[in-house]
Amino acid sequence: MSESSESFDLRRRDIVAAILAKRGDALVIGGLGSAAWDITAAGDSPLNFPLWGAMGGTVAIALGLAIAQPGRRVLALSGDGDLLMGIGSLATVAVQAPGNLAIVALDNERYGETGMQETPRASTSPASPAPAASSWRRRFATRRNSPPPCRRSTTLPARASSPSRCAPRRCRSSSRRRTGPSSNPAFAAPCSATAWAEAPRSNAHAIVPPGRVLAE
């Protein structure tokens, strides 16, 4: 894994550190696997709640916290494996539509908790059956050379279904086919790593893109 990850540009630790550098007093829930370690490596904080279990619960914990603390920003930061295990909680969030909750997925297509085995994301990425990581990497490289993606209004979205609207067309590769899980709004909004931090009071469900680029 370390050999292959050498050829990729993105590093989870760097991305998470970049996100948290602009967190202000945001409350952060870190899912098990990778995110819990990443948020801790970025600097321990009493406003962090890293999980080492409760798989599938990261988003729901963040939702309960966001409802209880409507004046604070809450960030659920987790991986695709954790999100897939609690995928229904995205629907629960959509109904509750908290304006102060953001969900960021480290979509590395791996189960970090159990040894970096492939998640279903590894075989259902857009542009399958091409090698998933390389296709993601091409698309992200395109985005990186484009104007900053996902500039959003700073007004509160009325509903959490807005993630599907939060990703402007230029945020996506023109050749991208929306297939499988990528049709889910939460998975269809790859944004820049710091879009969440740069859009105060936004509940953009930024998805950090993906592939083995984010593996250890």
């Binding site: 279990g53 409760a54 729901a60 914990i61 916290l65 209880a68 609690g86």
Partner: protein, 176 residues
């Protein structure tokens, strides 16, 4: 369930008095009136779930944020919560769960029987104190004491409301 059943209203009054602010639920016939009371209330935030374990996690987050919550489900939902209950026990969070029982009293659906007959024991094994109640007039006081024990004792407590109170369901699928 008799039309005049008061126990859902009793529970609601107890939840309000206990300063419960989030009530999480998976839609359930036995809890219908209580769910509707919570949904109509301006203080309690009613959160519909896609699976019961979400509610365990949600209320852990609520507690982190300074709010008390209650989780409503029927007995078939208990099994969906087991691993997530490790979040509650490991972090010593309080949790108040109110379970309407199926698979007990005149149950017509055999698929309800496995969880209905075992959910109490499974909750105990997962670190939850269990209070079964089979008299309607005792539900309010049982929930009141369970809430006190959960939030002041910092533990997971479940009240199991017997199917004999709720009444056996037919959902129009059989006539009795």
């Amino acid at each position: 369930m008799a039309e005049s059943a008061q126990w859902p209203d009793d529970i609601f009054r107890v939840l309000r008095a206990a300063d419960i602010r989030q009530v999480a639920y998976v839609p359930d016939a036995g809890h219908t009136r209580l769910i509707n009371l919570c949904r109509a209330d301006n203080v309690i935030r009613a959160v519909g779930l896609t699976t019961e374990e979400e509610g365990v996690a949600l209320l852990a987050g609520a507690w982190l944020g300074g709010q008390r919550g209650a989780l409503l489900m029927q007995s078939s939902g208990v099994g969906n919560c087991i691993n997530m209950l490790s979040l509650i026990t490991q972090c010593r969070f309080p949790l108040l769960t109110l379970v309407t029982m199926r698979g007990q009293w005149g149950e017509f659906n055999p698929w309800q029987v496995p969880m209905g007959q075992n959910s109490g024991e499974q909750l105990r094994l997962a670190g939850t104190l269990v209070y079964p109640v089979d008299e309607a007039q005792r539900i309010g006081e049982t929930v009141e004491q369970a809430a006190r024990l959960a939030f002041e004792g910092g533990i997971s407590v479940a009240v199991l409301i017997a199917q004999r109170i709720i009444g056996s369901k037919t959902f129009g699928k059989s006539e009795q």
